[in-house]
Every structure is written in structure tokens, then in C-alpha cells.
């Protein structure tokens, strides 16, 4: 099924459901912000909710779910692999926090 056919076959109802889910998830992030937990826990909870929101938006608002499966896999694998590749520097961030000497010294 092409994107156009998929859009025609599904009504506005699905878009509204996704919109309400996104609003609810955005609201959940604000609730998490006022929970009495440490920053690390708060960060992971908020990031998880944001990833779910992003997934819904990409699959249904941007209609990636209606595209060819090979394109969906291309976008998913390519994006996630580069995002994961950006995480290599975190150990140095923790080093800065404790004021230790750079690893290169």
C-alpha cells in the first residue's frame, strides 16, 4: 500500500488518536519533572517518553509506517546507528565531573 492509499483508507480518527497520545505523553513528561527523584532517573524516564513520542510521530504523522518496509528499515537503522555512535564521549564527561586529569595525559 502506498502512502497516499494508506492516508485515504484511514480516516482522521487515527490521526486524532495519535495526537491525543502525544499530548498525554507530553503531559507525562511534565508530571515526571515534578517527581521527587534524582536527576539521573528523571533523565532516563523523560528520554524514554520522548523516544516513544518520536516513534509515534515518525510512524504515523510522517507516515513512515505506510512506506515500503525496506525504506523504514533504512531510516531506522541508519539513524539509530549514528545516534549510538555519538555516545562515545560520555566517560570523559564523568571525568570532568570528578575533576580528574584527561585520559590522554
Amino acid at each position: 500500500m502506498t502512502t497516499v492509499e494508506a492516508q485515504k483508507s484511514s480516516g482522521i480518527g487515527k490521526d486524532l488518536i495519535v495526537y491525543v497520545c502525544l499530548l498525554a505523553l507530553a503531559g507525562l513528561q511534565f508530571v515526571i519533572a515534578y517527581q521527587n527523584i534524582d536527576a539521573s532517573q528523571m533523565f532516563w524516564r523523560m528520554l524514554t517518553v520522548a523516544c516513544v513520542e518520536a516513534g509515534l510521530a515518525v510512524l504515523f504523522f510522517m507516515h513512515l509506517w505506510s512506506e515500503k518496509r525496506i525504506f523504514l528499515w533504512f531510516v531506522g537503522i541508519f539513524t539509530i546507528s549514528v545516534l549510538l555512535g555519538m555516545q562515545y564521549g560520555w566517560t570523559d564527561s564523568f571525568r570532568m565531573l570528578v575533576g580528574a586529569a584527561p585520559f590522554s595525559k
Binding site: A26, F30, A33, V49, A50, E53, A54, L83, G89, S93
Partner: protein, 206 residues
């Protein structure tokens, strides 16, 4: 034998016939732009997280979530109006599609104005690019860079919405162009879903 035939010689028909991934070229170009732009925002947010994690006296200047909650609601709603505009365009309702696209642009303008109001409030409190009254000066640089980059995207999106909407109404663009512009607008919305928790909510003053 033509030059094109010579160039294609040796390739199987599957590699040379039809657009890549069987989607229109313009849409593929927009997806590739979105993937590249994702890397830009991800790099900014990872760098911000790196600094925030490594800086003990990171400022937490936000006292109220009202403004950012309103901005989030407006941007999410603008994605819905964009979808309705696309549906109208697909159904051949030109006037309806134009109206919804302009509503989307108006919501984008409201979002940008609220964003600027927020910036002015922080500047009034003494926040600058490299100094602020609350802690490390890096906060201002990272905050203005990330939110400024997002605001630039919203502003470009509003200009594109108006331009494409007017040309669609005039018959120069079709529903496919509206869909491609919609991809960009939803992406701007998607980025905001990460900016809000990381830049605003984690820095609430409790």
C-alpha cells in the same frame, strides 16, 4: 549507442529503473535532509548533556512550566492541522487545504512569539550567551544555541508553509508538495519533544 546507454551498461535493470525505495525523489530528498538534520540536533543535545553532566553548578532557572507547556500544545496542535491540510489536499479540497496550512503557519508564528517572549524574560533576568546570575556561563550558550536552532527551523517552516500554501492555491504545487512540507513540519515538532525535557524540564527550579 547513446552516452546514457554506455553509462548504464553493466547495471541490472533493478538498480537503474524507478526511484530509490519506490518513493518519489523529492520525498526521498526530504527524508535524507531530515536524517541529516537529526544528526545536527542530536549533536547539539549530546554536547549539551555532556556539559550538563560534567558541570557541578549547572543553573536551574526555570520557575514555571506554563509557557513551555503552552508552546508544546501549540506545536503539537500545528502538526494535527498540517495533517488535516494534507487530507484536504488529497481529497481535492483546495480551499480547505490552503486554510489549514495557513492555520498551521499561524500556530507556528504564535509558537515563535512565545519563544521570543521566553528569551526576553531570561535576558531581563541577566542571562547572556556567556554569563548568567545562577552558575556556569555555559548554560546561556547551550540554551540559546539549541532553542535558537529550533526557533530558526520553526521560522523557516512558517515561511515555507506560506510560500507552498500560496503556490498550491495558485495551482503551481500539488498535494505531494504539501506532504513533503508536512514531513519537515512534523520533524520540527519531533525535535521539540526532546528539547523540552532535556533543556527545560531537567532545569526546573524546585
Amino acid at each position: 549507442m547513446s552516452q546514457a546507454d554506455l553509462t548504464m551498461e553493466g547495471h541490472s535493470p533493478g538498480l537503474t529503473v524507478g526511484p530509490a525505495f519506490s518513493i518519489p525523489t523529492k520525498k526521498l530528498a526530504m527524508w535524507l535532509f531530515i536524517i541529516a538534520d537529526t544528526m545536527t540536533f542530536a549533536a547539539c543535545l549530546v554536547a549539551y548533556g555532556f556539559l550538563r553532566n560534567g558541570t557541578p553548578n549547572w543553573p536551574r532557572p526555570f520557575h514555571s512550566i506554563t509557557n513551555v507547556a503552552l508552546m508544546t500544545f501549540i506545536l503539537l496542535s500545528s502538526s494535527l492541522t498540517m495533517l488535516i491540510g494534507l487530507r484536504s489536499a488529497r481529497a481535492g479540497d483546495k480551499a480547505g487545504a490552503f486554510r489549514w496550512i495557513m492555520i498551521t503557519a499561524a500556530l507556528g508564528i504564535v509558537f515563535a512569539l512565545l519563544h521570543i517572549r521566553e528569551w526576553l524574560g531570561l535576558i531581563d533576568e541577566g542571562m547572556r550567551l556567556f554569563k548568567n546570575p545562577w552558575g556556569t556561563g555555559l548554560f546561556g550558550a547551550s540554551f540559546f544555541s539549541i532553542t535558537g536552532l529550533h526557533l530558526t527551523h520553526v521560522t523557516c517552516g512558517v515561511i515555507a508553509l506560506i510560500a507552498v500554501g500560496v503556490r498550491y492555491k495558485g495551482g503551481r504545487y500539488n498535494a505531494d508538495d504539501i506532504e513533503i512540507l508536512g514531513l519537515y513540519w512534523h520533524f520540527v515538532d519531533l525535535v521539540w519533544m526532546f528539547v523540552v525535557p532535556l533543556v527545560y524540564l531537567l532545569n526546573l527550579a524546585h
